[in-house]
């Protein structure tokens, strides 16, 4: 009984503090890699029990959970492929520290490929 209560508490705490609700938007052709859906409302859990989520974690989460085909069109190494634009709350991620940008609840992250079409 005590044990299950502990479990419940752990879930409650993790659900409350660690799951982060984000809006992700894919454009410029990248939506084709994730079921042609442009806007995804997602809940992301920071990895390894960390208390914050940074862009680096989000990218690997996106790669595992959202990208259905041709991941090389989205990523190169541990970052986005050159030519993919990243905006966090309408601000170029160059200004917020790129992979180290820390994310907060209800942030909007936009990925736009510039490599398609002209």
């Amino acid at each position: 009984m005590a044990r299950s209560l502990q479990c419940f508490q752990w879930f409650w705490v993790s659900g409350k503090t660690l799951n982060m609700q984000l809006t992700l938007e894919f454009g410029g052709g990248l939506e084709l890699l994730c079921d042609s859906k442009k806007i995804h409302s997602v809940n992301v859990e920071p990895q390894n029990g960390a208390d914050k989520l940074i862009m680096k974690d989000l990218l690997s989460w996106v790669r595992t959970n959202l990208i259905k085909e041709r991941p090389e069109m989205f990523m190169k190494g541990d970052t986005v492929r050159p030519g993919v634009l990243v905006l966090v709350n309408d601000c170029d991620w160059e200004l917020s520290g790129q992979l180290n940008t820390s994310l907060e609840e209800k942030d909007v992250v936009v990925f736009i490929s510039t490599l398609h079409g002209g």
Binding site: G28, G29, D92, L95, I112, T114, L115
Partner: protein, 357 residues
Amino acid sequence: MQEVGTNPKRSSGRMCCICNQRRAALKRTKTLEQICKECFYDVFEEEIHQAIVSNQLFKPGQRIAICASGGKDSTVLAYVLSTLNKRYNYRLDLFLLSVDEGITGYRDDSLETVKRNEIQYGLPLKILSYKDLYGWTMDEIVKMIGLKNNCTFCGVFGRQALDRGAALLEVDKVVTGHNADDIAETVLLNILRGDIARLSRCTSITTGQFIALFSTIIGFCLLQTLDRLATYAYFKKLDYFSTECIYSPNAYRGFAREFIKDLERLRPRAILDIIKSGENFRISTTMKMPEQGTCERCGYISSQKWCKACVLLEGLNRGLPTLGIGRNRGSVNGRKNSEETKGGKSIESKGCGTLDF
């Protein structure tokens, strides 16, 4: 600190370098200054306005066709030109011109975007098709020649289609939009191919890569890198089409593009600098350049007896589609392939040794 916007990020709470009133949203490619959205629009549009004014691209009252593919370059061009036309009272009669190559699953979809742009920007639209102009669609051409040289056909036919369209619609000038990445790629490709004639004119704003008979075709470089162009289009919520041409994955240009994107990551100005280098190439005056004449068959500008489009079309119609492809200028123009490749006298084989900087 003053905070603007719904959810400003702590780490990027810096103010715009220009207005010092709003939160910075991006870095300028040229100066790496941090600027806000509003100032970005101003700087972006002003650079294009300055290029138009300083190059005297247009005169009041001219009829101008904006080439619209539905992609981001032409969408941004159409939007910015119509905005500037109103803001600075250029008094231009603007409209959209689209070429339908007949590529199912690509052009048919992008034309839908252009039709929406027609309504969004209030610019009339005219569509010309390869089928009407040449009797062949790109789908039919690819069926016959395969995926190896198809882009040659499309490029040659496309250029002429614009010019012929201009004559048909009685326009003074045709404007095509290009981003800085494209121009930088073209500079590199022309160096790799040793195409000195094109290298010397590919960065010039008023002729671009185009030579036109009936009108002036302005290959207008928007002077903005793809990244910034896409940011502009996204912030302004412009409606553009972003699917790669289904036939292009085999094109040579893809390699140059990849290379340039890697360079840009190391140094954001690299793209603008490659264009600058392209502009600064000087062709030695002792170098013999091909003379411009007219095609005996259709009257279009050509350095050979027949223009490239006529050679390619003849090949298609006679069932010899490789006619006029590659270095072989084709038997029609009375030159033998072997002479050109080992003779060392042609432009192509002269190489970079004759360039002076």
